[in-house]
Amino acid sequence: MRPALLLALVATSSLAEEPFASRFTVGLETLGAISLTQVRTQGGFGGGVHASFSLGPQWQVHAKAAWLWGLGSHTLVRVGGGWQREGTWRPLLSANLALGLGGALDVGTPDRLPARGPTLGAMLGAALLRWEVDGLIVSALEVEAGLSTEFLATGFRAGVTVFSLGARL
């Protein structure tokens, strides 16, 4: 807890110098995601939480954790950063690393089965339907796509955040 507290104090102390109210945002989202390689499919629908920290009026870093069901259940962790437009309409373009932990459909190559393990991915995303009003951030139909691997093969990863709601602390 101590590093988080320190980070919060640093952020709060610099608020007076910034034109916007707070650097921290937390929220909830509902989404679907899939990672598809030649030997492992991981995906599903569900919900999660997210937190972001503003580095300035336009740049932010963020972390997201989601719990998805479909092919078994798995946890999807994403960390990344992005650029957002200033103003009420705040479209966000982002780059993220993704880690999928848990259930997946494994399809081996002939006579060989992949070892249990996570999926790892890198994605670019766009949240064009995104607005901020009075510290409340609402976004719909965020899309992201990129590459995925389970360390044997490389494939495709994609996700759609159907709805996201965040609030500045």
Binding site: T41, G70, G103, V107, P110, R112, L113
Partner: protein
């Protein structure tokens, strides 16, 4: 200091058992397996149809479902091997009569390895599922005079096509086997590029020349054991497919379409052998599912893989 190390970890079969499994597989008689398919398909063609009106359907497929003659054939073949099949009958609609026979284990008779295949079929049902029944009968022939450490229970499941009815009733009514091996559609193969289709979300395969070894997280180590003992020893290419969890997720439903599913849903260990049915065989559930469309070397290889798997599970320490 006492080291509590298992003799053989899950997913690994010891050397002597592996050797025994491969030796038994050498005795698989492919001609006998295929002749059983021909006999069963012929019986389905002539058998009295199940009353499709009682199934609330008069569609052509449902009005060409048969089971009686194949059941009698199965019982007679078991008896000819010196075994004593028992009819496990449930009269609730739809009435089912599974055929069950135990080959008692020599040193661990209370531990059971179940081998099952459904004997009801649409039309002639050569691939679906005379092929699976024939492979089960070949295993019974091989093991009848060479019992394993554990009891091997052969089960002919009734009315799989109606909705896994016989296997569901069997799974609910008895103690859990140590592991189950289920065959459904194991005789069709095509090495032509493009001959294999895949469900949405599954990796695509170029040709339908492999045997799918389907397991879930519970039975994953059993699939690993199948690969260990059988791959490259007379079996067709083995492609393991592992469904997450119990396998009951909404996106993995295509892996639950046969008699292993009731065992999965009960949290038990079960492995499913299949040629992927309608994802490969265009004759699936049609009048064209006839013996001449099957691939005999592939069917023989499936019987060998099955023999090796059952010995690995039935005889390992």
């Amino acid at each position: 200091m006492l080291l509590l190390v298992p003799a053989c970890a899950p997913g690994q079969v010891d050397g002597p058992t592996t050797d025994k499994a491969r030796a038994l597989a050498m005795d698989v008689d492919g001609d006998r397996v295929f002749s059983d398919v021909v006999a069963l398909a012929g019986l389905h063609a002539k058998d009295t149809r199940v009353d499709c009106a009682s199934l609330n359907s008069r569609a052509d497929t449902w009005c060409n479902l048969t089971n009686d003659a194949a059941r009698r054939f199965l019982e007679e073949r078991f008896r000819s091997l010196g075994l004593s099949p028992v009819a496990d009958e449930v009269m609730d609609h739809p009435a089912t009569r599974n055929v069950v026979v135990d080959l008692r284990g020599t040193s661990k008779p209370d531990e059971v390895v179940l081998v099952g295949a459904h004997f009801d079929a649409f039309f002639m049902g050569a691939d679906d599922n005379s092929s699976g029944v024939a492979v089960m009968l070949e295993l019974a022939r091989l093991l009848a005079t060479r019992p394993l450490a554990r009891t091997v229970r052969f089960v002919g499941f009734d009315h799989e096509e109606i909705g896994l009815v016989g296997s569901t009733r069997h799974a609910r009514g008895r103690p859990a086997p140590k592991v189950s091996l289920v065959f459904d559609c194991v005789g069709y193969a095509d090495s032509t590029p493009g001959s294999q289709a895949s469900p949405v979300g599954f990796p695509s395969s170029p040709a339908g020349d492999f045997l799918a070894v389907v397991a879930n997280d519970v039975s994953r180590s059993r699939a690993e054991e199948v690969l260990q003992v059988a791959a490259g020893h007379g079996a067709p290419p083995l492609v393991p497919i592992i469904s997450p969890g119990l396998g009951a997720g909404p996106l993995s439903g295509n892996l639950m379409r046969s008699d292993h599913a009731p065992f999965w849903l009960a949290g038990e260990s079960a492995v499913f052998f299949t040629d992927t049915a309608n994802f490969r065989n265009k004759n699936y559930h049609t009048r064209l599912d006839t013996p001449d469309t099957l691939n005999r070397p592939f069917l023989t290889g499936v019987a060998k893989a099955a023999a090796m798997a059952v010995v690995a599970w039935g005889d390992a320490p």
